[in-house]
Each structure stands twice: as structure tokens, then as C-alpha cells.
Amino acid sequence: MTEAEVIELIDSSLAEEFELERTDMTPEANLYDDLGLDSLDTVDMVIVLEGAFDFKIREEEAIRAIRTLDDIHRFVLSKIEQHS
């Protein structure tokens, strides 16, 4: 998977799960302030990413530091790199 494909899969999965408008999903968009996610969505976000990329991340401390869509992109890309 190329980096662009990974990012597309992340964005499309999150858009579907959280009924997000793709036009709002800029890399710098804050998940909570700009995209309207909240504490209830954090668990679902982890499940979505685990399902899309077939890895386990729910115990990862780095998840707590995620604030923007770009944070998710970089987090997932680094996980994929670790696994490869």
C-alpha cells in the first residue's frame, strides 16, 4: 500500500463511521473541535483503524496524544512501517 492509499483508507473509513464530510477532512482538522468527535468516538476510532489495517492499537499510549487527522495518518503509517 502506498502512503496515499493508506491515507485514503483512513479517511474513507473514518468518514463512513462518523458520518464526516470529506471536504472537512483536511490533515490539520482537529478531531474534536473541527470534526465534532468526542470521547465516545475514541473507542470506535480505534476499532475502525484496527479493522481497516488488521493490527491491534487499543493499548497504545500514543493514541491518547492524537488530536488531528494528520496525527492519525502519521500514527498509522508508523505502525505499518513497524510491522513491515
Binding site: 470521547s39 468516538d41 470506535d44 479493522g51
Partner: protein, 269 residues
């Protein structure tokens, strides 16, 4: 993004007449004090009913508490009846003593009270953390084993639901998570739909209309209104077991609720 369900007040911004202002004042002079008195009465009488219920009905403590909460809601209907008309539709689709997962739209603080319009009382509400912090309701909610979907782990919520279903109880979610502030159906959270699929329990969508007229978020004064709770046909979740099946189920439920709400509000073109 959200489906448009315009409120009556948004649709028809009618100036209040002197008579209707007087009725609103009268209603609020009645409704708030009587709600406080009714709640105090409930808190005082609960221990007695609880003991009698344990002795004669032999129900578990949590089921008794849920029954008591349902009775509290029923009493509130009676007290509000001079100003509010309560109706319900299609309740025959709900089979008593059969577990269901209810999902209902959310307009007002009083939506939870209106769930006493349902013909079943053994319902566990799945709510956020803040209602548990209400001094006068929190202990009852904990005793009724209501679910704190914000504070508990997902696995624990799922386990609690499965235990409730096994005992022929039902669970109720507000899939929007918050009260709508513009009359539109908001984004739906997935949790309830995932639980229904995982437990193999049918979903019954409920549509409530009128509570946004009674007391929408951000307002203090109640207004006379007609409140209607309508149950839609149960949806079997057995066909949604595929990956991301909860998304398909969620969309189907939301679409049916949006259509029904539009019809209830006279917005079908």
C-alpha cells in the same frame, strides 16, 4: 449532513398572544414545583415500594428500580396532563417480555420521562456520564443498572447488555448522544447498533415528537404541546453480521426514523 426535521417553532414563528403567554406562565408555575414535589415524593416512597416489591413480586433490585422509574414517568404524565397531551402509536409492535434494543431520537431533557409511554418497564437506559452525577436521580440510575457508555469500557457495556437481554430485559440508546438543537437528526453513534448485532437482538426504532416544543435545550420555560412516541417495525439484526454491518444497520434505522419523523411533523411533501 443531518436530515432536516424542522421544528414547529422554527416553521411557524407565531407571536405569542396574551392568552398563550398567560397559559405558559401558569404551566411553569405548576410544572416546576410539581416536578420537585413529585420527585421528593418518589424518593420518600421508594424504600417502602422497594421492600413491598421484593416481598411480593420477588423481582431483582435493579428490575424493581426500573419499574419504579417507569411509574415515576407515568405519574409525571398525569401531573402534566392539564398542559401536555401524550400520545403513542404502533406500540403493538413491541412484545412484552421479549428483549429489544430501542433507539430513539433526542430533543429534550424530558425525552427520558416520555419513555414511560412504552408498554414495557424493564428497560436499561444507556446514557453518558453526566446524568449519573445528578444528585436526585444518580443513585436510582445506578440501582437500576443503567449503562454509563462514556465511563465504562466497551466490553463491559456489551456484557451488561447481554446479561439484560438474557433476563428478557431491553436496552435503550439515544444514538445521537446529545439533544438536537436545530430539530435535525444528528450524527448517529454506532455503539447501540454494534451491540444489537453482537447480541442478535432486534432493533426497534422509536420516534419522539413534541418534546422540542415542551422544553428544547437552552430554554427554561415549558410550553403546552402534544407529545407523541411512535414505535417503528422491529429490524432483525441477523442479516447485518458482515464486517461494517453496523453501518448498514445504522443507516437503515436513521433513514426510517427520518421518514417517520417528517411524517409525524407534517413535513412530507
Amino acid at each position: 449532513m443531518g436530515m432536516k426535521v424542522v421544528t414547529e417553532t422554527q416553521n411557524k414563528p407565531v407571536a405569542e398572544s396574551t392568552a398563550s403567554i398567560a397559559i405558559i406562565i401558569l404551566m411553569n408555575l405548576w410544572a416546576y414545583p410539581i416536578l420537585i414535589l413529585w420527585t421528593l415524593f418518589g424518593i420518600l416512597v421508594f424504600p417502602l415500594l422497594f421492600v413491598l416489591g421484593r416481598l411480593f413480586l420477588r423481582w431483582s433490585a435493579d428490575r424493581l428500580t426500573r419499574w419504579f422509574i417507569w411509574l415515576y414517568g407515568r405519574g409525571w404524565f398525569l401531573l402534566m396532563s392539564p398542559f401536555v397531551r401524550f400520545d403513542r402509536e404502533q406500540m403493538a409492535v413491541i412484545k412484552t417480555e421479549t428483549p429489544h434494543l430501542f433507539v430513539v431520537n433526542h430533543f429534550s431533557f424530558f425525552d427520558t420521562f416520555c419513555m414511560a409511554l412504552l408498554p414495557v418497564h424493564n428497560i436499561i437506559f444507556a446514557v453518558r456520564s453526566w446524568p449519573f452525577r445528578m444528585l436526585w436521580y444518580g443513585s436510582f440510575m445506578r440501582l437500576a443498572r443503567y449503562l454509563d457508555v462514556e465511563g465504562e469500557r466497551w466490553e463491559d457495556v456489551l456484557d451488561s447488555c447481554k446479561i439484560a437481554f438474557a433476563a428478557n430485559g431491553s436496552v435503550l440508546f439515544f444514538p445521537e448522544g446529545h439533544r438536537s438543537r436545530d430539530g435535525r437528526l444528528q450524527r448517529f453513534y454506532s455503539g447501540g447498533f454494534k451491540i444489537a448485532i453482537a447480541a442478535g437482538i432486534p432493533v426497534i426504532p422509536l420516534c419522539i415528537n413534541g418534546t422540542d416544543r415542551l422544553l428544547p435545550p437552552g430554554r427554561k420555560l415549558m410550553r403546552p404541546c402534544r407529545i407523541c412516541l411512535k414505535a417503528l417495525e422491529p429490524i432483525d439484526t441477523g442479516n447485518f453480521g458482515e464486517k461494517d454491518g453496523h453501518l448498514r444497520l445504522r443507516k437503515l434505522v436513521k433513514s426510517r426514523m427520518a421518514s417517520s419523523l417528517a411524517e409525524m411533523r407534517g413535513e412530507v411533501e
